[in-house]
């Protein structure tokens, strides 16, 4: 009798041990969802109230290339610079021109005379609308990393993330001034550019705006290189900028509103001319991955985004009231 009882106890113990080991083994298997006591949930920052989303995506079309330099728009054209090609589309997504570039493009803009300016890593070139090379400037040096161009009249502003300055040049590439250079005597702290995201744009008055991405600020400069004004909001919330190098890309509408594109948690937002948050063009849920789409705006206040992750040109229009 006693022996029988001992056997039963032993069998129960053996089964219990097997259950515990099995549960531990199966329950913690790599694919199983185990609660993370140290979880840092960033999803809450990805959420955007639907009332804050002011734009809607009206069209997108694919651009199947390995890598891009950037996007710009003019009248009825969308122009994309890839690493080695210049491609023109109409607003329906139909390709109307494709030309080879002489080097790897990093950025692109178009001026009022419909001349296409393209930044290569160390120098700048200018093409006409037919994709014919017109000008090629001298190199800004091995340290330079050109990330953005903006043209205002006879001034071409070249954002150089490598040297952390904006070169103010004439249209022949002659450097007239270095803007934003660190100067302790003048109290200029300089641009803090942790990675090659350094965008510039021109407002309706022809003044230069530069995104000081390390400090999450916009800086406005006079033609003589002096600081005119600045604004910025560092925050993880939707109305601010956070993380490394944001806003990664900027554009300015003709009413001087700012359109911003962020990396890390990709999203496109709109701010008024005073830097007050107005709303969201495209929330993080509209994007895959972490790359900031390059952006351009047109006179109809459409926002055209070059989505590097989805390999698409995406057109966003303001929702009807």
């Amino acid at each position: 009798m006693n022996r029988k009882l001992v056997n039963i106890v032993l069998i129960v113990l053996a089964v219990a041990i097997v259950v515990v080991i099995g549960k531990d083994f199966i329950g913690k298997k790599a694919g199983k969802n185990i609660e993370n006591p140290y979880e840092y949930n960033i999803d809450e920052f990805r959420q955007v109230d639907s009332t804050q989303i002011l734009y809607t995506e009206t069209l997108n079309f694919p651009v199947k290339v390995h890598d891009w330099g950037g996007i710009t728009v003019s009248d009825s054209m969308i122009i994309v610079a890839t690493t080695n090609e210049l491609i023109k589309f109409n607003y329906s997504g139909k390709e109307i021109l494709r030309k080879s570039l002489i080097d790897t493009a990093t950025c692109i803009t178009i001026d009022d005379n419909r001349q296409i300016w393209i930044g290569m890593r160390h120098y700048v070139v200018m093409y006409d609308l037919n994709g014919t090379l017109v000008k090629r400037w001298n190199s800004f040096g091995d340290r330079s990393v050109i990330t953005s161009l903006a043209v205002s009249g006879e001034n071409v502003y070249v954002a150089d993330a490598g040297n952390r300055i904006v070169h103010q040049c004439n249209t022949n590439g002659q450097i007239l001034r270095k803007i934003g250079e660190k100067n302790e005597q003048k109290g200029i702290s300089g641009f803090a550019i942790p990675s090659p995201y350094f965008d510039v744009a021109i407002d309706d008055g022809g003044f230069l705006w530069a995104a000081n991405t390390g400090k999450h600020t916009f800086e406005n400069y006079n033609p003589d290189g002096s600081l005119r004004t600045s604004w910025g909001i560092t925050s993880f919330k939707v109305e601010g900028f956070s993380g490394c190098c944001n806003p990664a890309h900027i554009s300015i509408l003709d009413d001087n509103s700012f359109i911003t594109s962020e990396k890390g948690m990709p999203r496109i937002k709109i701010y008024d001319q005073h830097g007050q948050f107005t709303g969201v063009v495209a929330p993080p849920a509209a994007f895959d991955g972490s790359l900031a789409p390059d952006i351009a705006v047109d006179k109809q206040h459409r926002v055209i985004a070059l989505d590097f992750e989805r390999q698409q040109v995406r057109i966003f229009e303001k929702k009807q009231e």
């Binding site: 185990i34 942790p194 400090k215 490394c244």
Partner: protein
């Protein structure tokens, strides 16, 4: 004609002697070979591929060593702009500093050293770090991903079947040569492995 055949007993003795010599040579060669193999880079240890890590927190809870032998490291060559980025800070931090109440780190293991305005060099206090990857999650989501986890081999017991590797949901635990036991971002990516730093 003389008979050259040796007696059977001598043949057997010679056979045993040469057999023993052969066995000794083989065993000595084997020992030497094993020693050589042990001393060569083919010895493997566990390490975390930072590009596969998903910051699940299991490195802190599943390691057989307490606190975990997995620690955060800072690839300073990749990025050192933590104070500007704020990826390691709590979202509602009241200041951009490494004060304990501002850090995501539950043990305040991150310290900084002033370089020049506005740059700081960030270090991880290993004795405090528990390998929870909370700071790594913030740095990866908002920054350039210079904070990442590595198994510290001065602490690791090098279990044959790593307890964390068994439960890692991203299969980020890999075997690497013992003479190059770390996979620091920016270093091993330069070796042409085709990964983005």
């Amino acid at each position: 004609m003389s008979d050259n055949k040796e007696p059977k007993s001598i043949e057997r003795r010679r056979f045993i002697r040469s057999g023993m010599q052969m066995a000794l040579a083989v065993s000595l060669g084997g020992v030497a070979g094993i020693s050589f193999l042990k001393a060569t880079p083919k010895d493997l240890v566990w390490q975390i591929d930072p590009f596969k890590c998903v910051q699940c927190g299991r490195c802190a809870t599943e390691c057989v060593v307490t606190p975990s032998a997995v620690k955060c490291v800072h690839a300073y060559a990749l990025c050192g702009y933590c104070d500007l980025c704020g990826g390691y800070l709590k979202p509602d931090a009241n200041a951009r500093s490494t004060a304990a109440e501002n850090q995501l780190c539950p043990t305040a293991a991150i310290k900084r050293k002033f370089i020049e305005e506005p740059y700081y060099e960030y270090e991880i206090i290993e004795d405090l770090c528990i390998g929870c990857a909370k700071c790594v999650a913030g740095c990866t989501a908002f920054g350039n991903g210079s904070f990442h986890l590595q198994i510290r081999h001065n602490l690791c017991k090098n279990c044959n079947d790593c307890a964390i590797a068994r439960v890692c949901p991203a299969e980020a635990f890999v075997r690497v040569p013992a003479d190059t036991p770390y996979l620091i971002k920016g270093d091993f990516t330069k070796g042409g492995k085709g990964k983005k730093a």
